[in-house]
């Protein structure tokens, strides 16, 4: 195989991992924000 196949594979993998992990973190932050809002809202309802 040509050297460039390995180079493209290496750089391609790097971008897949970096973008994939950034996407995972984005979803995780959103989920955490929603969970916290839900808990705080649930607490207010309980106080009523």
């Amino acid at each position: 195989m040509s050297d460039w196949v390995y180079i493209v594979a290496g750089f391609g993998l790097t971008w897949i991992v970096l973008i994939g992990y950034a996407g995972y973190l984005r979803r995780r932050v959103r989920r955490a924000e929603a969970a916290l809002a839900e808990v705080l809202e649930g607490g207010k309802e309980a106080e009523k």
Partner: protein, 243 residues
């Protein structure tokens, strides 16, 4: 122990979140520019030819993994000393990002090893110690996932984080202590000057990505902990929190 749950509004503040997003865009743009410049400007190596270009992603990924684990070490010590929960959460964020960088460095090393050494993997001292490091920090993350009590989770993971980082020194020195297939550490001192600019540019770009990832992961951890603590508070007060 300092608990962020009493200030959930701070965890939700939009200002820091926006700054982190901007940092993310800058970091990814920096990686794009650094990779483009280094790919286009570095000449083929005498022995490896164009395969040398893989250094620009493999070496920064490995450096960032060691840096992230170093951060875990310092923050774990700080946690055991001050018992401030923010140190524990930041250490956990750094550990997860370290695992991502560590796994990436191993995979890139494998891609580089196949055409240069003729194998995808060999039980070389550098490769094996790096794989052991990855397993230790995967264990760190598993420990955190399966320990419910926040105080115990923080103490135990701090101990694992400190011990795990000690293996980083073995990883770093492995190419000097043993006769390995892996070359000696790549650094501006061991490289031909023609390649150092690209390596420095990529290292700085990866450093920005590392800071962005840790900041983002820390934000998620603060929010999750705030929700967890609110549920604990409500349970202690006998309130019903509907989730």
């Amino acid at each position: 122990m300092t608990i962020s749950a009493s200030r959930p509004a701070a965890a939700q503040a939009p200002g820091p979140a926006r700054r982190i997003q901007v940092l993310g865009w800058i970091a990814f743009l920096a990686v794009l520019v650094a990779e483009a410049v280094s790919l286009w400007t570095s000449p083929p190596d005498r022995d490896m030819g164009h395969l040398q270009k893989l250094m620009y992603v493999h070496v920064p990924a490995a450096w960032m993994a060691l840096l992230a684990y170093g951060l875990v070490f310092v923050l774990s010590l700080l946690y055991l000393w001050k018992r401030d929960e923010r140190h524990d959460l930041l250490a956990a964020a750094a550990a997860e990002v370290g695992v991502v960088m560590n796994a990436l460095a191993l995979a890139l090393g494998s891609i580089w090893g196949r055409p240069t050494w003729g194998v995808w993997w060999t039980w070389d001292a550098r490769l094996t110690s790096t794989a052991v490091l990855l397993v230790i920090f995967l264990g760190y993350l598993a420990l955190r996932a399966f320990t419910e009590d926040p105080d115990r989770r923080a103490r135990w993971s701090a101990a694992v984080g400190i011990l795990g980082f000690l293996n980083s020194y073995i990883v770093y020195m492995s190419v000097r202590w043993w006769r390995t297939l892996h070359q000696v550490q790549s650094s501006p001192e061991t490289l031909d000057p023609i390649y150092t600019r690209g390596l420095r540019m990529n290292a700085i770009a990866f450093l920005l990505v590392l800071v962005y990832f840790v900041a983002r992961r820390y934000r998620a951890a603060r929010l999750e902990r705030a929700a967890e603590a609110r549920i604990e508070e409500a349970a202690l007060a006998g309130e019903g929190v509907h989730v």
